[in-house]
Subunit: 152 residues, 3 copies
């Protein structure tokens, strides 16, 4: 019979489930950070949101640098974390070596934490560029294995 890859009895899947979910929660935390920045700076995108403003003369804007920095970070998460999880689902089916797979997942997750820190602290470049590139390379490495294994 075939081996079951998509079960918590498979350590590759279990590790993938853990790091994917942790990455997804990290991505979701950007929504909370956006709300916190909007409320602290009275920066809102919709007229009906202005009832939440402390300063009653606040107007809508989509160009506050602090809020837009969080928004760009969130979009970069979407552009990188979602492909990691999608490609990873197929990568699990290629039966990779357990430790090789685990290091792909760990390195990706750590790269996204470092990317967020470098972005939100506005650390000197190329720190943010490098932290993003490392996670990007991990996803591409997984994608290469899938494309070679599943090629028609």
């Amino acid at each position: 019979m075939s081996i079951l890859y998509y079960t918590l009895n498979n350590p590759v899947f279990t590790n993938f489930a853990f790091y994917s979910t942790a990455s997804a929660v990290k991505m979701m935390s950007m929504s909370l950070l956006t709300v916190a920045k909007r409320l602290s700076k009275d920066v809102f995108a919709n007229p009906e949101d202005l009832v939440l403003a402390k300063n009653k003369s606040a107007v809508t804007t989509t160009s506050d640098p602090d809020v837009e920095r969080v928004r760009r970070n969130h979009l970069n998460d979407i552009e990188n974390i979602i492909p990691f999880v999608l490609v990873g689902v197929f990568y699990v089916s290629t039966n990779p070596d357990r430790n090789t797979a685990l290091w792909h997942f760990r390195i990706f997750f750590i790269s996204r934490i470092l990317h967020t820190l470098t972005y939100q602290l506005a650390l000197p470049q190329p720190s943010r560029f490098i932290s993003c590139a490392i996670g990007y390379a991990a996803t591409l490495s997984m994608a290469a294995r899938v494309l070679l294994t599943a090629r028609p």
Copy 2:
């Protein structure tokens, strides 16, 4: 032998497949709403799109409030519906109680319908905030179960 979780014989998976796909279709419907708003208001982002304009003196813009409201709604769907489906895939593998799982999926889907209604009708806040927060909490609850079950 291991139990198969990812099959339509598993009611948790079947319900997840239904509500995830319904949520994805709801998200995709925002593309149609964007096209409808662009055509009805002659609001286009690319110069080559202006041949579609009724008013031949229309110019490109990315700041029409009606179109941008739909775009923000679409992006909010991406930020919330995609993590729900990704985390849900792993949640299914944790063998949750059938009814507990079903209510997570139902509540999430209803919260996204309410979020879209409150956003597009510009209903008074905090109605949109609350409808978004309920779905966000459902996804976090599923993520917590995955992280506790699959932790290394």
Copy 3:
């Protein structure tokens, strides 16, 4: 015993893994194109990125038409490729005909390549609209099968 759908022994899954991963890599390539455009035109969104500019008097901007064209293309990929992969995961579980499924996957992938070409070359409309609509229809067709098969 149940049939295993999520294994490379299932040609529907294997083809889906190949075309989904190829689509995800195509989507990720937009990040490289964005970086290339930013560096060649000295267009950066963050003050700390300006150390990378050739012209030392460059300022941050988020309104360069060439960079924003790539960004809109990337966001359109997110709005279309991610739903395709998410819905496709459930579609595989409905045991579709092997050839019907393969043509859904092929048509979707080709539509996204054509969409990118029409967008980046700014070809006359409705070429971009049609190439996007074809892939959108393929995803909706898969979603319809899932909703009908998995309905509660």
